[in-house]
């Protein structure tokens, strides 16, 4: 029998083409700093990180069906870890108060560095914390949510609550977090004494986002991805096939939070500050919008949407301060007319072209 008729082989043709497109885009992106100005490089770096954050949400929402508004939280936790590192490594003359204590701590009457922040002075510890703190936090939440079989909209409500609670908590702990202002005036990124120029940071970020995209694609093409998709469609059925659904959910949830944390960590040297704004529900919603517009379960869609919307926002801001109106209208159009999102719709058109409608038995759909 023809092997091509068996199984998934026929489905993976589109990703091959997508892979070529991705590779070409990557190369174009690599040489971009030589073509565009400094501002564009900085903006693109930021948007690539938002793209990676959107991909991390796509893993849990698009593939596994868990809608989370807390991905801004994981992003920001990673961001704070890096922000402490950069703040603590400000050279003494750059520090307003000359000492080793960050300015906001001085203002709030702290006389010495809290023990839980002090180790972040060292890059390896900060780098580990940037992944581990959001991941551990996610693991803890995930353990309780998924083991107790909370599902669907209730998870989403819990993520909203987490986002709100952490925003309030970070604002209230002014002496340790810098309150509403967050951690500002951080040093430029230097790793083991080597200063990273803006273009260098851009390439690091480009590599990271590419790695997240390709890694996520590889992960979702495996049996693991198949299991995630079945959990999304019907999580009860698969437990009768011998799968421990909760452990799969906890795993992808934690992994996703780790990715979001790294994105947040890389965001701080670029943005030069981190604040509870990124913990808040509004930012979490932004991530959800990128995934919805780009196309759930497409990985590249959310990335493209984050970059495009960022550029639109940048242009629209020059014309009007009400750019969010533009995004709002776009979201409405997508939700109402193209629920698969931009890339999802394009992919479906491709698949239809490849597989001409076969003359099969009448379609009876029981859903």
């Amino acid at each position: 029998m023809a092997q091509s008729t068996i199984g998934i082989a026929t489905r993976s043709r589109t990703p091959t083409r997508l892979g070529i497109v991705t590779a070409i885009s990557f190369l174009v992106m690599v040489i971009l700093p030589f073509v565009v100005g400094e501002f564009q490089v900085s903006l693109l770096s930021k948007l690539l990180l938002f793209g990676a954050l959107a991909i991390s949400l796509d893993l849990v929402w698009g593939f596994t069906g868990i809608l989370s508004f807390a991905h801004g939280v994981f992003f920001t936790l990673g961001g704070y870890a890096m922000a402490y590192y950069l703040k603590l490594n400000l050279s003494a003359e750059n520090n307003t108060y000359g000492g080793s204590l960050p300015d906001f701590m001085v203002w709030n009457g702290l006389t010495e560095l809290p023990w839980f922040i002090a180790p972040l002075k060292y890059f390896p510890i900060a780098a580990i914390a940037m992944v581990l703190i959001p991941a551990a936090f996610a693991f803890l939440i995930g353990w309780f949510i998924f083991r107790s079989k909370v599902s669907g909209v209730y998870i989403t409500i819990i993520t909203l609550a987490i986002s709100s609670a952490l925003t309030t908590f970070f604002i209230s702990q002014q002496a340790y977090t810098g309150g509403t202002n967050g951690i500002t005036d951080v040093s430029k990124l230097s790793i083991f004494g080597i200063n990273i120029p803006p273009n260098g940071l851009y390439w690091i970020i480009l590599l990271f986002t590419t790695f997240v995209l390709v890694g996520s694609w590889w992960l979702t093409q495996s049996n693991f991805g198949l299991i995630l998709r079945s959990i999304k469609e019907n999580e009860n059925r698969i437990s009768y096939l011998g799968y421990d659904v909760a452990s799969f959910k906890i795993f992808i949830w934690t992994l996703s939070a780790g990715i979001a944390g790294i994105a947040g960590g890389l965001f701080v040297p670029l943005n030069r500050f981190i604040s509870p704004v990124y913990l808040a529900v509004a930012f979490g919603t932004q991530v959800v919008i990128w995934v919805a517009i780009g196309g759930r379960g497409t990985l590249i869609g959310p990335l493209v949407a984050a970059i495009l919307l960022g550029q639109i926002q940048n242009s629209a801001e020059r014309v009007t301060q009400d750019w969010q109106l533009v995004v709002g209208v776009l979201l409405l159009i997508v939700v109402l007319f193209i629920p698969d999102g931009l890339v999802g719709t394009v992919q479906k058109l491709f698949m239809k072209k490849q597989q001409p409608a076969s003359t099969k038995q009448p379609v009876i759909d029981h859903n």
Binding site: T5, N223, S239, Y240, F248, F251, P362, V363, I364
Partner: protein, 251 residues
Amino acid sequence: MESILSVKNLQVVFSGFKALKGVDLEVGDREIVTIIGPNGAGKSTLLDAIVSKSPVAAGNVYFQGKDITNKNPYDIARMGIGRKFQNPNVYNELTVFENILLALKGTHGILNSITTKLTKTKKDKIIDVLDRIGLLGDAATIVSSLSHGQKQWVEIGMVIAQDPSVVLLDEPTAGMTPEETHATGEIIKTLARNHTVVAIEHDMDFVKQIAERIIVLHQGAKLAEGSVDEIQSNPKVIEVYLGREKINDAA
């Protein structure tokens, strides 16, 4: 005879309503047992309680001598009890091949699922299953575009791929044409050569085709038990199916 599956005084209560009022059931290795009974008799509930879909209020379920009452569904599945649900409970958004692949016997851990490859052995196993359920040509078809009967076969295929010691089938022929029903009967008979089968059925022709022993449930309790002939001539059974000449019309 040594029982592979043993249900003792099983009770299931749904918010005060006793769906099962102490049912006993012994199933021998590689036996085919058919459960019949009017709607609401507790047939599906009995299978649900065995696989921990419905919580057991009292009584016990033993599998190969081990108490599995109210254990995690995935543990029960891993021990070797497979279940086919009443309405085809398959993955509509996945291909036929992927549905079978998901069910394939093996380890079900996270790391394993990431690193595992689709080996030739696995592929051959899946092709063999597809062949048995007559869907080899539809391997790459998305399940939502299949007919109701074909979906039933996909789920039977999933159970075959799972290769459990005990197969629990809930109305495997519901919605099938007589020809499809007969074909399904043959699949199940082949299955029974190396599996134990417990099936819920309405279609008496089908029951006659496959059954070795029949159990009649009525209002959450066992009403009768025996061969096809014994059941058909049992006055209590006839009374339950009141107003009908024969239980042939029991559907």
